[in-house]
């Protein structure tokens, strides 16, 4: 009898251990998380008959055009190792594309080409100037309205670009302070925005023959973003504005009087970040607001019906529309969730049919990914701080090693959705904690302003308070909290190591800002008008030297006491690579364990697979030694 019991016990044990084996999450190779697709940047021809995308074949990337009805298609370019930065249709027959010349300086040559690959012409050579397209419709079937800084690298003038011969004729000369130009539905240049760096002024004219006159001046802390001209009344524009309120709203604005006419959608708790105008219906379709994820409020029923139908076809996913034809019948959209990078689809509104184009990343299986949960906590001064917590799969949410992942800045934020970096870390067994610290966008202008000049100050406190909150809930193991970030995220990570001594077991910084002076110095010449604004956000290097020195890790190497991982791209123009090397040297002289990784490509945007793999493998090893095994 006893022998029989023991036999059963053994079987149960064996089953249990087998179960546990299954329960353990598979370690997914680094590359799988970040895999780039071979088909990206889907676009539709204006008549909705052709589908175009950038197709990667080997190392070569070309524009590929496909007949939607027949499925027949071909490459229309042959670019060798050059990349296409951006492209769009200008007519049913022609496309314009930007060929990359220097990625670091965002310089490109601009070409126009027929949809069958013929008649390729260069419209602009890089020559250090940049070209922005103001309106992607052709005027008189040959003119394109563009802005360029070819006259003066610091200002953008408006030109009428003849796509037939490449001639550029100035349409409006920038007096020196115009930072943006807008056209109306007919492609007429009737709105401009000027800036003295701190204040933005909206300039308006009734007709192109008139002179611009100022209608509204707002501080850079305010948002006033024109979305579209009203179809019926030429002096009315729709804009997203938070002038005189904390949260942005969609408003109707009278350019003649400079007054807000009405609130089209507004809420004390919701912050409108985007709005969609339908050219076909000549109406506003919906507004987008950000809570813990992007949500839509529909301004007319037919749009609501359209999206309801989509929700039925793609349940429990978020969808984004990337392109549509002029008739608003054919759409290109992408679906995604936090655990699924999603797929691209072609959607036919008239039939309600959905055709899958490609997966965003077919290596990712939803079941192996981790849920990204919105969380919030209260900071020491009473502010509600939102964030996301991603827990590793099949593990009890207790006493976990945590990687705090502050986002880049200034003015950025984390949003719900598939994030390969977060999923990579969670797959390696870490709880990943993202915090939308003060200064992050999407929570109203007070929240953004609360972060001004608080680098190394209250921003750091928010991160610290978040970690304490996580520890108090027994999710985090207080001895195994690490911090890692890119850009300003790296800055926060390094700051955390010496401003909150003992909180973090280690810190990793990728292309991190280590010196605020250098950061201000690196602002490119064409952004010089904004310098005063950067002084307000970051700090004034002339009057606040002490505070900025306190906040810059480079000056504080004497206070570091934990292992550091520093990665940098030595060709990154925003950074002074010599300073980072000096920083690493100074740390090493003090006997701090420093892992230093240098690359010449671009790890942030994931173009260089080899260096990206190296970076994440090193990060994994660094965290494994300094965090997990502690």
């Amino acid at each position: 009898m006893i022998g029989f019991k023991r036999y059963i016990f053994l079987i149960v044990m064996a089953l249990c251990s087998a179960c546990q084996q299954n329960e353990k999450a598979r370690t997914i190779p680094v590359d799988d998380f970040f895999k780039s697709q071979d088909k990206i940047a889907y676009r539709l021809s204006p008549d909705g008959k052709y589908l175009s995308y950038l197709k990667l074949q080997g190392t070569e990337q070309n524009i590929y055009i496909e007949d939607i009805a027949t499925g027949a298609g071909k490459n229309v370019t042959s670019l060798g190792d050059k990349r296409i930065v951006f492209y769009f249709w200008v007519s049913n027959n022609e496309l314009i594309y930007y060929k990359e010349v220097d990625a670091a300086k965002s310089q490109s040559d601009v070409f126009i080409i027929d949809k069958n690959g013929g008649h390729q012409r260069q419209l602009l050579s890089s020559d250090k100037s940049r070209l922005k397209v103001l309106d992607d419709q052709l005027i008189d079937n040959k003119y394109l309205l563009v802005s360029s800084n070819k006259r003066d690298s610091t200002v953008f003038d408006v030109y009428r670009l003849n796509v037939r011969n490449g001639n550029m004729e100035m349409a409006a000369r920038n007096p020196g302070n115009i930072v943006d130009w807008r056209t109306d539905a007919d492609g007429k240049l009737r709105l401009a925005m000027s800036s003295d760096g701190v204040n933005t002024t909206i300039l308006y004219r009734n007709q192109e023959s008139e002179a611009f006159r100022p209608v509204l001046t707002s501080n850079f802390k305010d948002t006033f973003r024109p979305i579209a001209f009203s179809h019926s009344k030429p002096n009315i524009i729709y804009a997203i504005s938070n002038v005189n309120r904390d949260k942005s709203a969609l408003v109707e604005f009278d350019c003649n009087t400079g007054k807000e006419l009405k609130n089209m959608y507004c809420n004390d708790t919701l912050n409108i970040t985007d709005a969609q105008y339908s050219r076909k219906k000549q109406k506003m379709s919906f507004v987008v607001f950000e809570t813990w994820k992007k949500e839509k409020h529909f301004l007319n029923d037919s749009v609501k019906l359209f999206y309801d139908n989509l929700d039925k076809l793609l349940p429990k996913t978020e969808t984004r529309i990337f392109d549509k034809d002029n008739a608003e019948n054919v759409f290109i959209l992408r679906s995604f969730t936090d655990r699924n990078p999603g797929s691209y689809y072609l959607y036919f509104a008239n039939t309600g049919q959905l055709r899958k184009l490609s997966d965003f990343n077919s290596s990712i299986h939803e079941a192996e990914m981790c849920e990204m949960k919105p969380v919030s906590f209260t900071s020491r001064d009473g502010l509600t701080i939102h964030g996301y917590l991603t827990l590793p799969l099949h593990q009890k949410a207790e006493h976990l090693p945590v990687v705090v992942l502050p986002h880049d800045g200034p003015g950025d934020r984390n949003l719900w959705g598939y994030n390969p970096e977060v999923q990579f870390l969670a797959n390696r067994g870490y709880a990943v904690f993202q915090i939308n610290y003060r200064g992050s966008s999407g929570y109203g202008k007070k929240f953004v302003a609360a972060g001004f000049k608080e680098w190394g100050g209250k921003i750091q406190d928010d991160i610290y308070d978040g970690v304490q909150w996580l520890i108090s809930r027994n999710i985090a193991d207080p001895k195994r909290v690490g911090i890692y970030g890119t850009g300003f995220g790296g800055f926060i990570a390094l700051n955390g190591l010496y401003l909150n001594q003992g909180t973090y077991a280690c810190a990793a910084s990728n292309a991190g800002v280590i010196n605020l002076f250098t950061y201000l110095k690196s602002i490119p010449p064409y952004q010089k008008p904004n310098l005063q604004m950067f002084y307000e956000i970051i700090g004034n290097p002339l009057t606040e030297v002490d505070r900025m020195r306190q906040a810059s890790p480079l000056f504080q190497t004497d206070k570091f006491n934990a292992p550091v991982f520093v990665a940098q791209n030595i060709k990154d123009p925003g950074n002074n690579s010599g300073e980072t090397i000096q920083f690493v040297k100074n740390l090493k002289k003090r006997g701090i364990s420093v892992t230093y990784l240098e690359n010449e490509g671009d790890t942030i945007f994931g173009k260089n697979q080899e260096s990206r793999r190296k970076f994440y493998t090193t990060l994994e090893e660094f965290l494994n030694i300094n965090l997990k095994r502690k």
Binding site: T154, K521, F555
Partner: protein, 555 residues
């Protein structure tokens, strides 16, 4: 024979004397060498350790040069007089050899400057010049400004580095990222007692600077550059004497310093300081008597080691001498034994010879004579045979050449037969015995018999005529067989009691003038040992002796 022995002793003595003599010479020689070695070593150290002193003393300067100086660049040209002053304060606190700092708050641009450097369309000139330092009076901190030039001339320091910057820009290859070292050397100027450093701009800015030499850029760009000129005082370098026992005095002296009155009593050496201090040197001086202490500190341990080594050698020599001495005594004993044995053999041999001669020379022998000679020959041959057997048995036992027989014997009968045979031999021998506790035991009867015979023979031999008595007792005590042989003989003096079991040992007295070889008791001991037993002796002079034999009881 005696002479030979004496000669042997004398030879040994001479050898020992020579040995000790040579050893002493060697000892003194090695001490001398050790002392010379220590002196040389210390002198070498004196010449070579200065590098370490230099290295440690100059470490703060290297730190300043490698760590603090680049900090100027961290400000990216944003340094103003207040921050610069604060920066200089921290520098002076940490690095006392920085005596004064001149701060050139400068601009790079396309507009020509009247003070500064204009090359092509590139201009580089100071906006303001300040000086900071603990000895700078408050009213003369600002030396120069564009509005108020006072009488200050921008000067050599600024121009030298500005020229260096321009020539670097001229040769700058904009397609490559310049290395840190390259930049550092281009943006710093090290001269005598002075380091001038210009903040290193970003590579992007350098490329624009290069362009600015050739053409006017639009709009006219202006870049901030901070140049700091650090005046250094070499006398404020803190000397770290890492070998205070080696160097009595270390001073910083000009390179030309060479005192005339270098007396014989002092040892000196020097090493030039690096970088901006290259006009100065570290001058090291120690008196000879000061160095002697250091030399001794090296010498004593070596001397001690030599002494220990020498002592061990002498000890070994003594032990060898002692062993030789013992061997010599053994040789003497063996010699005596051979002497005795020869004597022992001689008597029966001469008796046999006489008997043989008598038989040969006699014309006829009577019946009585025949009987007598026959008996004599037989007895003497037995005697010889006995002697030879004894010798043979002893050698065999000593070499463990025989094997132990194991027979059961009746103790009573065994002792009875021994006693009987001795009574027959010596009618005046009064023998008695007792047995208690056991009746039989297993042993080798031949060996045991031999043991009994020897002890009984000894008891008879070493007893005065009136007290020839022996009492043998056999008992079983705690699982062991114990035999006691108690006589009332002459006894053994306490001083000799330890020697009686040694080979060839005989106590010199009237009882053993003849017929004894000194083998008996040694033989007994060997026998008992062979039988895995023990033999001990208790004795009082003129009262008697008791031998106690303990044998294992193998039942």
């Amino acid at each position: 024979m005696t002479l030979g022995k004496k000669g042997g002793y004398r030879k040994n003595f001479l050898l020992i004397l020579t040995f000790i003599g040579l050893m002493s010479v060697l000892f003194l020689l090695s001490l001398g060498l050790a002392y010379r070695f220590s002196t040389k070593y210390v002198e070498n150290d004196f010449a070579s350790e200065k590098v370490n002193v230099l290295e440690q003393s100059i470490k703060p300067y290297n730190d300043f040069f490698q760590k603090k100086l680049p900090e100027v660049s961290y400000y990216n040209g944003y340094l103003d007089s207040a921050t610069a002053s604060h920066f200089v304060d921290t520098v002076q606190l940490e690095y006392p050899f920085v005596s004064k700092v001149i701060f050139y708050d400068s601009e790079v641009g396309n507009t020509p400057v009247s003070d500064g450097l204009n090359i092509g369309k590139f201009s580089f000139g100071p906006k303001n010049i300040y000086q900071f330092g603990s000895l700078v009076p408050n009213d003369s901190i600002q030396l120069f400004s564009r509005k108020n030039k006072r009488s200050f001339v921008v000067g050599d320091d600024f121009n030298a580095l500005a020229l260096k910057l321009v020539s670097y820009l001229e040769s700058l290859d904009t397609t490559h990222v310049p290395s840190q070292d390259e930049l550092f050397s281009a943006f710093s100027n090290v001269r005598s007692n002075k380091i001038t450093y210009l903040n290193i701009p970003r590579i992007e800015d350098l490329k624009i600077y290069k362009e600015m030499i050739r053409k006017n850029l639009d709009p006219k760009p202006v870049y901030q550059q901070d140049m700091l000129s650090f005046q250094l005082d070499p006398y404020k370098i803190k000397i770290i004497n890492s070998r205070p026992k080696l160097y009595q005095f270390i001073k910083i002296q000009p390179l030309t310093y060479d005192p005339l009155e270098t007396s014989e009593a002092y040892l000196s050496t020097e090493i030039t300081l690096p970088g901006p201090f290259s006009d100065f040197k570290l001058y090291f001086m120690s008196s000879k008597s000061f160095l002697d202490k250091e030399i001794r500190s090296y010498f004593w341990p070596i001397a001690l080691a030599i002494l220990v080594f020498y002592s061990i050698l002498v000890l070994v020599a003594f032990l060898i001498y002692r062993n030789l001495n013992i061997n010599q005594k053994m040789f003497k004993l063996q010699y005596d034994f051979v002497n005795n044995l020869t004597h022992e053999f001689k008597t029966p041999v001469s008796v046999i010879k006489i008997a043989g001669n008598n038989i040969k020379s006699a014309a006829s022998l009577t019946e009585r004579e025949l009987g007598m000679y026959g008996r004599i020959l037989d007895e003497e041959a037995d005697k010889l045979n006995g002697l030879m057997n004894k010798l043979l048995a002893f050698t065999q036992i000593e070499n463990k050449a025989i094997e132990l027989n194991r027979d059961e014997i009746n103790v009573h009968d065994f002792i009875e037969s021994t006693v009987e045979s001795h009574r027959l031999k010596h009618p005046d021998f009064n023998l008695s015995y007792e047995v208690s506790g056991f009746k039989t035991f297993i042993t080798d009867p031949v060996l045991l018999g031999s043991l009994f015979d020897n002890l009984a023979e000894n008891a008879y031999k070493y007893s005065p005529a009136e007290r020839k008595k022996l009492h043998i007792s056999a008992r079983l005590i705690k699982g062991k067989v114990v035999f006691r042989f108690t006589d009332q003989g002459i006894g053994i003096p306490a001083s000799e009691i330890n020697n009686i079991f040694k080979k060839f040992f005989r106590i010199q007295n009237q009882y053993n003038q003849n017929g004894s070889v000194g083998l008996g008791l040694a033989f007994c001991k060997e026998l008992v040992n062979f039988m895995k037993g023990e033999i001990t002796v208790k004795s009082r002079v003129n009262k008697g002796t008791e031998f106690k034999i303990v044998l294992p009881y193998n039942d």
